[in-house]
């Protein structure tokens, strides 16, 4: 009980600290064809920032003193997908950011083949220069639109045990990556028992639309929220969701290897629920109808 209160306080505190500490020293700044990119550093914390005029969107942060520790709660939550796919041999990550996810997954699963898709070559360069991201014979980076990659991979019959969708910068949503058709193409890339993890939007009208769209494609999924974090992570497995006991067992087995990354995986299972907490009548987003950016602002 005490530990629980403590961890909640910790989450709250780290949220507070993160929101106060935005805007350190800018150590790199460039304008790519897609966005303004900044690397900011404050103390030992270094962040990739997609700067906009209104506010800064921090994509990835690393603690240079503890480079393995995953700083952002939503990134830690993404590892919840491992509860359903404990030993993936092939992983697809959509959206590179600072490369935190592929790097960590590669350390966890040195034998796994990882494809990381990033549309912006400048982001890949920054990840390599400032976030110690290395592509190697196990991590392949494809500089490509994710929709194009997914369609082509489907044509070639490529499959993955784990697919992580993390393409949204928060400021602008690539609307063709949020439609039923895109998710169907993604689902087609899943190996038997494969898992899709999506870092999504938790506020605005979009929440219901997006949730319904995922449900239409994947059926019931785990809607994963952690108290003290404003994020929602979708964990879906078309071949069926495990029960809580199975999850708890998986968490116990994963815990030691995830500890160095600061991921308290044993806390996750009790927050995984397939209950719906959105408007079930919300329309589904399709290639014909996907005004995601307009919905996000309502």
């Amino acid at each position: 009980m005490n530990r629980r209160v403590f961890s909640r306080l910790g989450a709250l505190l780290s949220c507070l600290v993160l929101s106060l500490s935005s805007g350190g020293e800018v150590i790199h700044k460039e304008r790519s064809i897609y966005r303004n990119i900044e690397v900011q550093q404050k103390g030992s914390e270094r962040c990739l920032v997609f700067a906009t005029r209104r506010d800064d969107r921090r994509q990835t942060c690393v603690d240079l003193k503890a480079p393995d520790r995953v700083v952002f709660s939503y990134v830690r939550m993404t590892f919840g997908g491992l509860l359903l796919a404990p030993n993936p041999s092939s992983i697809l990550v959509i959206g590179l950011g600072g490369g935190t996810l592929p790097s960590a997954l590669s350390k966890l699963y040195p034998e796994a083949g990882i494809d990381a898709i990033e549309i912006d070559a400048a982001v890949v360069q920054v990840a390599e220069d400032y976030f110690d991201f290395q592509s190697n014979n196990r991590i392949n980076v494809h500089i490509q639109d994710a929709r194009v990659y997914t369609k082509r991979a489907g044509q070639n019959g490529t499959t993955y045990d784990l697919i992580i969708l993390d393409a949204f910068t928060g400021d602008y949503i690539p609307e063709h990556l949020m439609t039923r058709e895109y998710l169907e193409e993604t689902r087609a890339l899943l190996a038997p028992g494969g898992v899709v993890v999506a870092n999504t939007f938790s506020a605005s009208d979009l929440y219901s639309y997006e949730s319904e769209t995922y449900r239409a494609v994947f059926g019931p999924f785990f809607n994963f929220k952690l108290p003290g974090s404003g994020n929602r992570v979708i964990i879906a497995r078309p071949d069926g969701l495990p029960d809580r006991t199975t999850l708890a067992l998986a968490a116990k087995q994963l815990a030691p290897s995830l500890a160095p990354f600061g991921i308290a995986i044993t806390e996750f299972p009790r927050h995984l629920t397939s209950k719906t907490d959105w408007d079930r009548n919300a329309p589904i987003l399709t290639d014909q109808f996907s005004p995601a950016n307009l919905l996000k602002n309502r």
Binding site: I33, Q144, V148, Q155
Partner: protein
């Protein structure tokens, strides 16, 4: 040429030509904007996709201007003007019904999404856009009665049709995509073009 033989008092149909030019301006830009949406599932929404769409629209319009101007030389009349609108309506229909088939084929044939999107834009948008481009010079010819005012008439037409384009861009991106499916918007545009064509043909009959 027959520039000294004005066939009929064009000022009587001036309002109709202005309205129709406005309509074509509106629809050109609305379709162009939807073009990005249409191509995105196959070629992404990167800057080169917009590059493909915009360049194909520009080439198609320029060809349309050339053909429309050439056709305006021989006894210009509202009836033929109306046919342009009907043809443009027909030209948009394949986008509604065959776009995915066409893009599927292009996607399979071409690896590089830059050239894929360029070819797909050509297949989907070249013909309807070229036909819509024919409307501009033809409108000028229908409204010009004397050379002294030709520049003024052309200016007025550009004004109206470009304003239509601005409104088409704005309404489509702000509201139409929020309210309707893309195909619904496209079919509505087909209906509007069709009605516009019938209006021109009807006015031509009344004038004759």
């Amino acid at each position: 040429m027959n520039e000294h033989t004005p066939t009929k008092p064009m000022h009587r149909i001036g309002w109709a030509v202005l309205l129709l030019a406005f309509t074509s301006g509106f629809i050109i830009m609305s379709v162009e904007l939807l073009g990005g949406r249409i191509l995105a599932p196959y070629f992404g929404s990167s800057i080169y996709v917009w590059g493909s769409i915009i360049s194909i629209f520009m080439v198609a319009l320029s060809v349309g201007y050339l053909i429309g101007g050439r056709l305006s030389v021989q006894s210009p009349n509202l009836g033929r003007y109306g046919l342009f609108f009907l043809s443009a309506a027909l030209g948009l229909l394949p986008i509604v019904f065959f776009a995915n088939h066409a893009m599927e084929a292009v996607f399979s044939a071409i690896d590089d999404p830059r050239y894929g999107s360029l070819l797909a834009s050509t297949i989907l948008f070249f013909i309807p856009t070229a036909i819509l481009g024919m409307i501009a010079p033809y409108s000028v010819r229908l409204m010009v009665n004397d050379t002294d005012h030709s520049g003024q008439v052309a200016g007025g037409l550009y004004f109206v049709s470009t304003l239509g384009s601005a409104l088409g861009t704005l309404l489509t991106s702000f509201y139409l995509v929020l309210w309707f499916d893309m195909n619904t918007i496209l079919i509505a545009m087909v209906a509007v073009l069709f009605s516009a064509g019938l209006l021109a043909i009807f006015l031509n009959r009344g004038d004759a």
